[in-house]
Symmetry: C3
Subunit: 209 residues, 3 copies
Amino acid sequence: MSFQYYLELLGTFVFAISGALAITGKDKDWVGATFTGFITAIGGGTLRDILLDRHPLVWISDMAVVYTIVAGIVCVYFFSKTLGRLSKTLLLFDTLGISLFTIVGTEVALHHGVRGEIAVVMGMFSAVMGGVIRDTLTQETPVILQRGVYASACFIGAVIYLILRYFDLDRNLNFVISISSIIIIRLLSVRYEWAVPGFDRKFMRKEVD
Amino acid sequence: MSFQYYLELLGTFVFAISGALAITGKDKDWVGATFTGFITAIGGGTLRDILLDRHPLVWISDMAVVYTIVAGIVCVYFFSKTLGRLSKTLLLFDTLGISLFTIVGTEVALHHGVRGEIAVVMGMFSAVMGGVIRDTLTQETPVILQRGVYASACFIGAVIYLILRYFDLDRNLNFVISISSIIIIRLLSVRYEWAVPGFDRKFMRKEVD
Amino acid sequence: MSFQYYLELLGTFVFAISGALAITGKDKDWVGATFTGFITAIGGGTLRDILLDRHPLVWISDMAVVYTIVAGIVCVYFFSKTLGRLSKTLLLFDTLGISLFTIVGTEVALHHGVRGEIAVVMGMFSAVMGGVIRDTLTQETPVILQRGVYASACFIGAVIYLILRYFDLDRNLNFVISISSIIIIRLLSVRYEWAVPGFDRKFMRKEVD
């Protein structure tokens, strides 16, 4: 079992936690928490593999993935007091999840034979689509559509990974560097309220009838 | 044509009805009703087959499925007066749909060669994801995230099916028993307001800023 | 490269524009605009190809598609002042997109070997599902569920395409006629407020508790 495999399991674990946290405090039950945790954890990677026609899906052939998700959800239930304030905890686990999945997803896509540009897109999809599905199901505005540095941190991390790979850096070291860069960018951006430039240059909302 | 085939058609029929009912009384037109009925009827099974890489999809290769869906939608239009109060009718058809699709979905997944645990997940996905898509499109909270016994009834039914199958019970008899058990659990749970244990143990909503 | 290829690229371009326009004026950033433009542009065609098991997906193997989408999004940013009032502009680009994608999607499905009825469904899915995903992400009621002539214009255009194809009309001429018919029907329907018959015959909303 490779380093990448354990990183993917860790990403699955923290995303299951972020999914279960997302419905915590919303008067939901164990089924809701399990469903949201499961969908958040497998959503991005599953979408990536379906787009790439990569079968069988990891969680269908490898039961460790399913048990990891269950473990994440149970952790939220039992350690919720220890986990501290909800919004900060959710941010932390979500950040860990997107950083791991971006780089693992980029690597998987490259290994599948697609071009670098598409691999970056696939890495970002792996990272953010689980959260997009989670937010859509819980009727929140998807994080990717909110202001702030989120998908762009994934983008930068994936590009760093590609560049270091081009220069033949050791693969595991490259994983560590590019994953860390996403975590650092994301957390600093929240702390210092960085933002990506707005898209509205001339249209004003009042123009819309 | 097997017993399973007719159960799947019946499930498709009642789910098309549940989809068309879901937008009834919401000032929608025939296109909206057809779209919602169609998506609800094929959503769960299609997702299951895409996840399992099972092609061609049933409704693409078998026109009977498409005509069954159209029949269900037309029925809602013409018999809507006879169908009685909307919420109870929707509950009945949705319950029939999830019970049929859970067991057919579990069986299809087992036949495809996956493990029992994954087959149960696939059975539940077949059953609930059509409704999840229906609710997302009509901007309702997905039923699976509401309190009450819904996906858990499917879960119990799928496990009953697996156990009886392990003891080599006649397949059609097993279908009847496990499907009935889902219907009974679901309807009793609504009548007596059974609920799955809540997930919030310590987090309070006020903790969230 | 065929006429159909350029029509598909043009459809991708205008759908990317419609996606980026959909979040214009909503305080979003470049990432949000790019994501929405991308998902809207590839959503319908990707869903069609996944349902038909047609791999690799166009945008994964052909970088021209990705660059076309980026061009569309950049155009919205720079020409937004010239584009005029938002609602009318969005209508125009969306109409162009659905007309092109309906016919290209129908043709692709027929070429893949499915029956005429399914090809029509696939054409409509190609056309409307990008917009359905766009509207779901931006938490709007999907256009297909709103009153008016939308998916039904696609339906009529796809049937016209099938009929002319049956009579062996020149393929490119057929494209022009059937695409134009969708554009004309859609724009006239908005101008004269045509509507598809309502679905609610007897149920009243007050019946619902």
